[in-house]
Amino acid sequence: MIPELGHFALILALLVATTQGIVPMLGAALNRQRMMALARPAARMQFVLVAIAFGCLAWSFASNDFSVQNVASNSNSELPLHYRIAATWGSHDGSLLLWALMLTGWSCAVSAFSRNLPDALAARVLSIMGLISVGFLLFLLFTSNPFARLIPPAPEGRDLNPLLQDPGMVFHPPLLYMGYVGFSVAFAFALAALIGGRLDATWARWSRPWTTVAWAFLTTGIALGSGWAYYTLGWGGWWFWDPVENASFMPWLTGTALIHSLAVTEKRGAFRSWTVLLAILAFSLSLLGTFLVRSGVLTSVHAFATDPARGVFILAFLAVVIGGSLALFAWRAGSVGLGGSFALVSRESMLLANNIVLIVAMASVLLGTLYPLFLDALDLGKISVGPPYFEAVFYPLLAPAVFLMGVGPISRWNRAAVPELAGRLKWALAVALISALLLPFVLGRWSPLIAVGLFLALWLFASTAVNLWQRLKGSHRGNLWARLAANPPSYYGMLLAHFGVGVFIVGVTLVKGYEIERDVRLDVGQRVAVGPYEFAFLGVTPAPGPNYRALVGTVEVHRDGRLIETLHPEKRIYNASGQTMTIAAIDTGISGDRYVSLGEAIGGDGAIAGAWSVRVYLKPFVDWIWLGAFVMALGGFVAVSDRRYRLAVRRRLGALAGIAAAE
């Protein structure tokens, strides 16, 4: 009953989405108030219906309804409740339903927070989002029905993939999708503006908070995914340049360029057509990512089980949505106008350079990800493009952008003077350069890459500090608090985000430069010294789990003769699937992780009480990677809390816009 209810809700949602996609758009073209007014209630109704469908699927999982094919394939009655619910989005069908839920959720949010938009613009934005919904709902209903029944019902489920039985599964996909899907709002705004012919600073102001929030969610989602891979996969890696990881990174790079471009369009009216293109590009890359994960054209750890019909459908969807929006862009972008002028050295020119570098970096990641496909399609052989390529290309590309991040915020709009900039930044540059050259010696080993990485990070810290210092010093307010309060949240958001990038770079540089890995055979009681630590292996004992049998190891971590931590790496064998998982044990600290995982039992006849092969890693400052990402995301959220975007101000803006539109 419940699955049928969910299925029916999806069908209704499709009908509502179709109406939402067509009627308000027509209403905006014909200036019919009643048709345009249909947009908001339609968006809300659609969200309610998809939420009902999602709830029905989640209920089926929670109540172990193995007559639903999806539940039987991805769940198990021994699975703890929170993982049963997370399994709702653990399959292709379920994750698509999550996509649809997020999409309708964002549409609903736009309908609620857009009272002050001109009716035509709001109607077009919601219509476009409705049309995208139509695509996803059609895909769900015709090729990926999550409510398909299994007759007769299975006695027990096949279990959720053990790799996914982790808190990461509860948080990573929803947050990631909030980001991916959130770019659809900027996309819809861009298309609505192209259709309506009005692309000005106010349009940028409306788009900006939506884009920044989506970007912040995407940052968090990607960081969570990376952290999850680090502690779950057992060998301490945190980024593999896997096609699906790249598929989330490309919208992120484009989204970063977009939020900066929107800033320029909002403040200076410049970059209009470029900003529109970026908005289209960001969401297009999200959709492309969806295609790559689900069509089977690329091999990836993340890829869902594939089916040719699905691949063709998504490709057709891509052709319509991306092709259509780029065609609209080709047709209308020319009439958008040039926007403000600015000098060779100015904040605008630096933001433009930063944007170009980010897009080139994105294009390189795209090139590397799709190149094996290109060559294979042309019958020129099969190659692999992996981390060695991406690291060789990506880091040199991004270095100039990072350097500009220190100069841009200090530059004046429209015209900045190089001598003035040099004067403001020379101390920051000197301090960063000298520290970066000296630090590696202190840390144990000098290498040019470590020095460059440290320079970029220290440069960001120093230039951010200089920026804040000069702001506060130049302020005419009284005490420190008043001076701090004089700056808007968007300023602090920017400082935080840039600071977060610096933290991230420190983490990456130091972990890559100084990590140590040892793969050793240890008898019970034997110790191994790695770096300044000693690891004592105390054997492995069996222990039961909720839906698995575990072999729990005990490893003591000593330093300077003192015991500082006892770690318990595990090997788990899951009951339902028989799969073995290696669970690493990590002693986390702000200055680095001690990471231990079990290899195999090698003491005579596989006896678990004997010797084992153990992997021990020292990962200096690795947590700064995710800390930096979270600080970046926090910066985004802080920036959005700016009162510019709050309702009261928007109402005034809306009133003005209403007057303008009525003319």
């Binding site: 293109l277 297009s284 069509s295 092709g323 862009f329 020319g334 496909l373 399609a377 099969k382």
Partner: protein, 176 residues
């Protein structure tokens, strides 16, 4: 003329779309063999049914033959086995088996149970000959000509289409 610049993103996308469309028909997991057109790697291995004798790749010069990589632990091998038995009966081309990373006893028992299509089977217990041939999964089948050059590799179980459309025509051509 202005419009040309704005159409560049669309043009790039259309090209990308074309590649993705072609890509849908390809299998990204398949690793094509670099040995096609090159001399088959030499081997000299003990025979499965007669542990006292060896078979060397040189012994097979002058005839067109198939090398089928199989093992008793391989599930997919059972799928292609009836096809191999049929092929052996037709006597068109001799099939030699490479028993890959297997125990001789298990292999003999498996052949006794499922039938033996092989003119002879050789034992590659440590997989070294398999590595020389670029074997990465079982089963795989190689077509080798009179001069000892590899002409075709079938990845995965043999299928009726592959036999009829690719392998047998090539065999007839090479046997002339």
């Amino acid at each position: 003329m202005k419009m040309l610049r704005w159409s560049i993103p669309l043009a790039v996308f259309v090209v990308l779309l074309a590649f993705l469309w072609v890509g849908l028909g390809r299998d990204p997991h398949e690793v094509p063999s670099p040995l096609i057109g090159k001399p088959a790697p030499a081997f000299q291995l003990v025979q499965l049914h007669d542990a006292g004798k060896t078979l060397a790749s040189d012994d097979l010069r002058g005839k067109v033959w198939l090398l089928n990589v199989w093992a008793s632990w391989c599930v997919s091998c059972r799928v292609e086995h009836p096809l191999l038995l049929q092929l052996a009966k037709t006597n068109v081309v001799p099939v030699y088996g490479l028993d890959y990373k297997d125990k001789a006893d298990d292999a003999l028992a498996w052949l006794a149970q499922h039938g033996n299509p092989y003119t002879a089977s050789i034992v590659d217990s440590d997989g070294k000959v398999g590595i020389d041939y670029g074997v990465y999964g079982v089963p795989e089948t190689f077509l080798i000509d009179k001069a000892g050059v590899v002409r075709y590799k079938q990845i995965g179980p043999l299928t009726v289409e592959a036999l009829q459309q690719k392998i047998l025509p090539l065999v007839r051509q090479l046997q002339k």
